[in-house]
Each structure stands twice: as C-alpha cells, then as structure tokens.
Amino acid sequence: MLLAGCRDDAALTPGTGPEGSALDAHASTRLRDPEIDQGDTWFAIDIISETSAAIPLSTPLPDRRTGRSVNTLEFRPRPEPVHVEAGYGADDQLRLTIYREEGTIRSVGNHVVSTNAAGEQVSSTTPGDIFGQMGLPLASMENTSIAGGLFVDTAAFERALRATDPGDPGLVRGRADRRGGRIRVHRPDDDRLHVTVEGGATQANTEIPGTMVRRYRKHARPGKDGKREAWWVLEEVEHTAEMQQNAGTRRRHTITRIRQARWNQNREQEARRFAAIKARRRSQLRSNAAAAPVAAPAPLASLAPAGPTPSTASLTTNESEFPCGPGGPEHFAATGSSGRNVVFQHGICSDAGTWNGMRPRVSDRFYVATEQAYSVNDAAPLWYQALELEGKLRASGTRDNVVVGHSQGGLVARRTAQMESGLVSGVVSISSPHTGAMIADFTPKEATGALVDAVARLGGYCLLPGCGTIGHVANELPYRYFSPPNDGDMPARLDNQRGSPFLDSLNSRYEPFRRAGIENDAGPRFSWARLIGDAGSPREAFNPQGQSTVNDVWTGYDNAYYVMLFGMLLMSVAITDDCYYGGNYWSYGDYWYYGGYYGSSYWCDPYDPYLDNWFDWGTYHLGFLLYFFGSAARGVMDDVDWTWDYLTTRNEALSEPYWLRADAIGPGTDGFVQLSGQRYPETPGAFSPLRRPIPYAHSHTGVTASPLVLHELTSTLGQFGLPQRF
C-alpha cells in the first residue's frame, strides 16, 4: 500500500524499501502522519480513473445494434471523478466521505473507518480494505489508496531513496520486493519521482500481474517551524495488467489521476484571519457614509427542515464578505409553491448577497422558492456542490424548479439538473464558464503575483487624482478573487479549468431540461476595476468608492493624458519662443533676432538658440517631466490592464510572453470569464441552449445586479414556461 513513505524508520532499511511495502496488502504499517492535526485538517481528493480493457472471447457474441459478431469485449475509458474527503476527528477516527455516482444512482454517505491509534502513531488499513469495508464496488479504485492520495512523509521517503542509491538522482536501482517483483525508482528531475513495480499489484489478496507506475511530485509548504518543507504527492497511478479469465486473457490499462487539495488546515487560524479582515472592512464601511448597505433579503419562511436558518442579519453586507471556502452560515429557505420555482445558486467565493439586487424583482413576477445562500463549501469540487444543492432541493419539498446560476453556480446548476431527479426542470446560467475560465489556469499565487507585479510598477507613478483607487482595487482583488482560505488550493478552481474532467463530463452529458446561457461583456478596458464596485452590485459595498471606481480609474487615465499633453505644450513653448504674432512681439527670453518669416502675421525666430536662458530651460524640463510622468502613468496603467486581461482573456494564438501586446488579449470578457468560455456549449440534446448575449455593461461581479440581465432573465423564465406569480 502507499503508506510506505510514512512508515517508521525501522521499515525503511535497505532491502525493504518503500514500494515493497506499498504492495503488501497486509502490512501493519504504523503511520505518523504529520499532515493530520487532530480535528482540524481535512483533505479533499478527486480521483479520476480511466480504465480501458479488452477481453477476447472464445465464443463470439452478437452485437445487439449491428447484429455482427463480436470477438473482443472492449471497455472504453469513462472518466468519472470520485471525490473523497478524509481527516481525523477528535475521536482519532479516520473519517472518509466518498461521493460517487454511477449513472443516475447516487451513493452519498459518511463512512467511518476504524483505525488504531497509539499516541501519535496511527495505523491505517490497506486501500482495498478501506474501500472493501465500505462496500463500494469501486472497480477502478483497487490500486489506489486513500492514504496514497495524501502527502507522503518526505523525510522517510528521502531516506528510502538514499538507502537505495545514494547520489544518483536518476535511475535509482531495481530490486525485488518480497514477492519477487522488481521495483525501479526513476527520478526524471528533482521534483518528480516515478516508481515502477514490475509484477503488478495486489488486490484483495489476489495478485494481479502487470506493471504499475506511480508518479509523485514534490511540493513545498510551510513547515510547523516556519521553514519550507518538501512533500511528495502521488499524482498518478498507471497500471497495465493481464489477467486470465474464463473468456480469455483480459488486458487492462488503468490511469488514475489524483488531484488533491487541502483546505481549512487550521480552522482557528483562518477564523482569526477572517475576523480581522471583516473588522477592517466594517471600519471602512462605517467611515464611508456613501456606501449604501446591502438590503437584507426579506424573511423567508422555511418550507422544510433544511438546516439552520440564520437571521436576516447574517446576510448583511458584513457577513457577505465571508471569503470562499468552508464554513459560513448555511441558509436555505423557501417561499412560494411546491413546484416550478426559481432557485438561485451563487458562484465561487460568493453568497446570497449576490442576488440582492435581482431577487426582489424576480420574486415580484415568479415564485422564488429556494435559494442557495451559502454553500457549505463553495471551494469544494463542483459535483460535490451539485449533490449539496440537490440534497437541499429535495429537502425543500419542491420539484421542477428552474435554477439560475451565476458563474460557477451555473455549472453546479447544470450538474444538479443532469441528475434527472425531477427537482430541476430548467437552468439559466449567467456568465458561467461552461468551457472553463482562463483565470483558473493560474494558481492563486501565480495570479496574485502577476497582478501585484503590475501594480507595483504602477505605484511609482500613481500620483494623480483617481489613481489611488487602482491601488485600492489591487489590494482587494488578490484577496477577493484569488486567495483561498489557506495557502493551499481549491478543488473548485481545478474544476473550472478548461478541459477539466469535470467540464468534460458536464458537457458530454445529455441535458433533459430547458436551458439558456446569458453572456456578458464588460467592455475592453479596465474590466478589473469593474469587478469591484459595479453600479447596483452588492459587491459595491466592498469598495467604498462604488461605481466611481471605474470612473476614477478612467479619470486617472485621462488625467495622465492631460498631464502628458501639458508637458508637451511646455516643451513646445520653450523651444519655439521669440515668436511674432499679430503685430506683437513676445518672448520669454532676454533678446531676439529679426530674421523670421516676414510677410505673415505669425513667425518665429529661426536663429533663436535652443534653451537660451534659464526660463526656457526650466520650462522645457518641467514639460519633459510632466510628459514623462503622464505617459509613464498611462503606460503602466495599460500594463495593469493588460496583465489582468492576460490572466482572464489572453489570446492563445500567441505564444508567451507577449503580455503587453494589445493582440495578446482575446475578444471579450466580463472581467473574470472570457466570452468564449461563457458560451453554453452544444451539449448533446435535442434543443438549443438559447444563448442570449447582452450588451456592454456590467462586470462579472455586478452582473447579478444588472437590470440588463434581469430583463434577459425574466424573459427567459417566461420562455421556459415558468408559472407566473398568481
């Protein structure tokens, strides 16, 4: 099993290296996993297995569709993420929650696996045992351990490497495991490690011949003493096997990709951090009387026991600042009829406040029965969130609802509707990244770093009115839109990536419901400034300047232009003085020559020495300075703009690094999701997804408060045949 790297030192003597134990299904491995702090660390792991297999048949079978004989049964890859959460509770119990789906049959449960705990040493069980105990027929999981998806004890791992072949970073050496198989450890570079086991794997006491390759990557993270620590992470398992079956030799090839993320590594620490941020922003809001508070939603009468319903105060502006990630009050309430209602689903790092502008006007015309205020965890994998929404809809007792999803919420809505549970009859997405968001290609660190670099370049020139707003926005953006609850990453980001298994799966499914996608374009410039403070947006409260943010940025940009022009004017005056116009002589100098162009009402002295006195000199250089600062400020503001656009809308026809080229930017963005990503794909189905583009208007964050979108939405809901409020 894959806990080898976590074994104690005694197990890592030469001859009993890490992968030998990895294949032993019954090793009583004692684990001291420094990653798991009791009660406060939880892991999320997405495991995607693609298995293809071929079984030659001794007796051909007829193909029902074609009528032809089939000599080989072929199984094609069917990637379906399996989401696993793991962690240790206060009772030292390893808790595993596995969410899976097979067709329309779902199985969600909280499975507790007993472990042996002695002091800080925790013994675990084999992967086959774990999944076997759960009674989950995860056929593709037999070679993957839940512990294998966790971080491996690097110190032990490194010691094992040194023990096998000190000084050789490449091919370490092969040796036999206890079953006689060969193990080779190959290190292509410092950060990657491939462990190949020739001889196959063991599943439920049965040896499966073949070859298995485990691929690890080294990650760095802050250690408990503040130093950086390296950890090996299992990223992929490739297993090729041949098995003798009654029908013949079955050849199977399995690639299991493991995407793991940690969140809430220390809940207390994060809580303190969030509290500090909230306090600071509350102070900002109080100090700015112009920032209108977001109206709390009308009290909603719960139709179902759907968890704790907070007071309306919990949905005020301050609470809406709760960042993305787990926690936060859960609110799911219902008004209206028992069927055919409007349900709102917010996006990532958001909450019910995003619908404050739209909810009253939609509910004036339609039944707004339920709304997903806080997801339990809007950073969790999206199909996990879809299950969450589905569960709450089911609990509300409503059916045939139309889910209106903003951004990531549109993907969650689609996934929920695809379950064909009868709970959702239509989906309207607003600015949703149906084919992925470019920004999700970047880690929080990368995206924040790029923007901060650009802003830093701006800082030296930001002396003009309105320019300071840019710094304010830049200060907000990395936190609001990039910073996950800790230094780790969000599974939701991975699902929002273009070409992610989730999106591939989502867009390849038949969608048995009415659907429409509202697309939004915030315009070509300073879309990043629009993200905070769009007019009417609940997010406006985050920025005391409100809508004036965009105006201030434009003002700063314009002012830089005027300063530049004024500087050019001064330079022109300095070098063209001693001019005659309309019968009057004028000069900034002490003397002039009469050698100009006579016969005209305007002439300049061509013999005037350049900057022939201190006044001219001073004027010229003042003009130069103004021109320099003006043009530089504009250039750096362009730089900030294009940096953001590159992160969200880059033209991939161009190779990097053309960040500052205008043509590096693709067509259209709402400041966060490029237009091409917003397009509702032509997924399999019998009907059009009804794209509805709206004009240049609001940003990604302001779009849910946009009257433009409201009109598109109400019109669409009417086309869906949603009952009108009676």
Binding site: S425, R515, T555, G635, P693, P695, P707, R725, F726
Partner: protein, 386 residues
C-alpha cells in the same frame, strides 16, 4: 475632480502623442443619447422622455393615437403622445402583468392572470375576468367584437370586450400529457390564430410548436400546423402575424422564422437564423413585400415576404428584443435603441443606452404613424422618425 473625464482616449500613450498633432477632436467617442441629452439618433428624434412613476416597464405597450399606454410593476400609465405628460396611472388587479396591451372601444385591455379592461381616459377598471390559469405568457389580440387570449393550460378564450363576458373557450390540446402553453393569439377576418408550445416531456426539453386556426365565432378548430415531431425542442414563441395569405411566426428555440398559408395551414417557407442562439421574441413585421425580424442572435433580418430569402442582415450590439417599422427607419430594441435604414439595413446609430445610469429601453414599440413609443428601465420615450 481635476480634468474629470472631458473625454476618454483609450489607446496607448504613443498614440496619444500622435493625437496631439492630429487634433483632439479625433478622440471623441461616437455620440449616444444620454437622458435628456441629444435629440436624435440616426435621424430619429427624441420627442420626449418621461421618468417612470414606478418600476421598470417590461411588457409591450400600445397606443390609440392619442395616448401611449405602458406598464411597470403592474401599474399602467398613460402618456400624452405629443408631450409625454402622464395623464393617469393606475394599478389594476392583473395579478400577473400581461404580456401586451390593447386599446379597443375606449378601453385598455390586458390579460395577465386576470383579464382587465380600463377606461382609456381615467384608467378606471371597467370589468375583469379570471380564466382557469394565467395567460401572462401569451400576447392577446382583439377585434371590433372580442378580446382573444390563451393560457398556460392550452386554452384559448374569447371575451366580449364590452363587458368581459365569455363568448367561448377552446382547449386546443385536450389529449396532451404535459404542459401546453399558448404563446400568442392573433385575429383576422373570421379566424383566430394561436401559436403554441406543447411539451412532450415533463421538462419541455422536447416540444412541438403548433399554430391553431379557430373559428372566430365559435372557437372551433379549423386546422392546425405542426412544427416539429417532438424529437427536439421547437415551438411557436409568439402570436402569428397575419399578412395577406401568410401567417408569419417564429420558432423561438430554433431561431427560425416560418411562413404558413393561413387558409390551408401549409408551410410556405422557413428561414433560419444563427443556430444555438435564442430566436426572436416577436413575429416578423412587414412593409410592402419585405418582412423584418430581430433575433437574439444579434441580427436584424430583412426577408422577401413570399420566399423568406434574406435580403440583408445587420448585426446589433447585442441580442434583440423588439423591432418596429417607423417611417423609413427600423427601430430595434437591443436593450438600447438601434436605428437602421429600412432599405439597406445600414445601422444609422444607437442611443438610449446609458447603462451607467441603467437608463435603456426594455419593452416592445408602439407605433402611430411616423412616431414610435417605447418604455424602459427608467423612462418612457416618444420618438419621431423621418
């Protein structure tokens, strides 16, 4: 603020330097019509702009040549055509706001979850009628005798618009298993036509479009035209428009325009817009031998009336919601006003699109002669076309 936004030049600093040489005037943005600002766009003059009393206006307004009637937040308002002065404002009990309004015999007629008639001069309620379920998704129609409308229960009603009494009602799909929604009703001669959306699956992802012809006097079904077989999503999204022998209709989910012979029920032509976009909200409008339509695929189309051949199409800034013929212009509402030349399709200008102030048109147009009227998020507008 210092130098605040006199103009915005949105290019690089290098280009900005060049502009100093070429002249600052070159940097000005194309002119739009701010509220109360410029008086014309594309040759269409803004006669008046009146701020709304309550809420945004969403539904198709109407005019009787003396007043302009529009509704927002279920409040119906009447404006003088020439000045835009609000003459009355009432909130009748429609329950749900109607899809459109009509004026007949001194009454403003609207059908939401209730049919209500208002006196044109005062807004006072004259009568009301409650159908079996809401008709708010269907355009209604009227002639000299009756008001016709359809419901979400696939039933077409005819009411005497003098007193609101029921003349007849007909269920056009008594055998249907799932939802059937009347999307609009029109009337011409002795026939009433209804455009229908029949769901063949519970969620309606597969649906059939129908046009039913009903005898005006009795409601008896004369013939029906079927659009689709239920293998995909099709439906007639609005009231068919009667033009000579033709009925013009729109298949909303397929973004297709359809012409049907109104005496035989046979399809004459169909013309498709750009796939995957939502289609037009309204049936094409006609002038002479040309049909004009505006779709959510962002294009305004001109089609030969007899063949459906596309004569020209012009792209708008966004998906379109309504279209009207006004003088020698076409007016398109893309949540902004676009003015096109009727002959060439050339986009002559855009306006009424102050999104920073949320001031833009949202409804269909009501046309009287060379004047058009439209309501929006913040105001009602009177327009005069050349």
């Amino acid at each position: 603020m210092f130098f605040t936004g006199l103009f915005r030049f949105r290019h690089t600093a290098a280009l900005a330097s060049a502009s100093l040489v070429l002249g600052i005037a070159a940097c000005e943005e194309p002119a739009d019509i701010p509220p109360g600002g410029q008086a014309s766009v594309g040759g269409v003059r803004v006669l008046w702009r009146t701020p709304l009393a309550e809420g945004a206006h969403l539904h198709a307004p109407t005019t009787d040549g003396a007043r302009f009637y529009s509704e927002g937040n279920r409040r119906v308002e009447a404006y003088a055509l020439t000045t835009g002065a609000r003459t009355w404002s009432e909130r009748p009990d429609f329950r749900t706001a109607p899809a459109n309004y009509l004026v007949r015999d001194g009454k403003v007629l609207g059908v939401g979850s209730r049919a209500v008639a208002l006196d044109v001069s005062s807004g006072r309620e004259v009568w009301q009628f409650t159908p079996d379920t809401t008709a708010a998704l269907a355009e209604s129609a009227a002639d000299e005798r009756a008001l016709y409308f359809g419901t979400m229960s696939h039933r077409v009603y005819a009411l005497n618009h003098a007193d609101g009494s029921l003349i007849w009602s007909t269920d056009v799909g008594p055998e249907w298993q799932h939802r059937g929604i009347i999307r609009g009703v029109s009337v011409s001669g002795d026939t009433v036509y209804a455009g229908v959306d029949q769901h063949v699956t519970p969620n309606g992802e597969r649906s059939i479009g129908w046009i039913f012809a009903l005898e005006r006097a009795t409601g008896r079904v004369l013939w029906s035209y079927q659009n689709g077989t239920g293998q995909d999503q099709r439906y007639i999204g609005s009231a068919p428009r009667v033009v000579g022998r033709l009925l013009l209709a729109v298949d909303y989910p397929q973004n297709t325009f359809i012409a049907v012979d109104r005496f035989t029920g046979q399809e004459v032509w169909r013309t498709a817009g750009i796939p995957s976009y939502a289609g037009a909200d309204e049936a094409p409008v006609v002038s002479g031998d040309t049909a004009y339509a505006a779709s959510h695929d962002q294009y305004v189309y001109a089609m030969a009336l007899q063949t459906g051949h596309v004569l020209w199409k012009t792209r708008m800034p966004a998906g379109n919601r309504a279209l009207a013929i006004c003088g020698n212009r076409l007016l398109a509402n893309y949540l902004g006003l676009a003015v096109l030349d009727r002959q060439s399709g050339q986009l002559l200008g855009t306006g009424l699109n102050d999104y920073a102030q949320n001031d833009f048109p949202t409804t269909g147009f009501a046309v009287a002669g060379n004047r058009a009227f439209v309501s929006g998020e913040k105001a009602a507008y009177g327009l005069e076309c050349p």
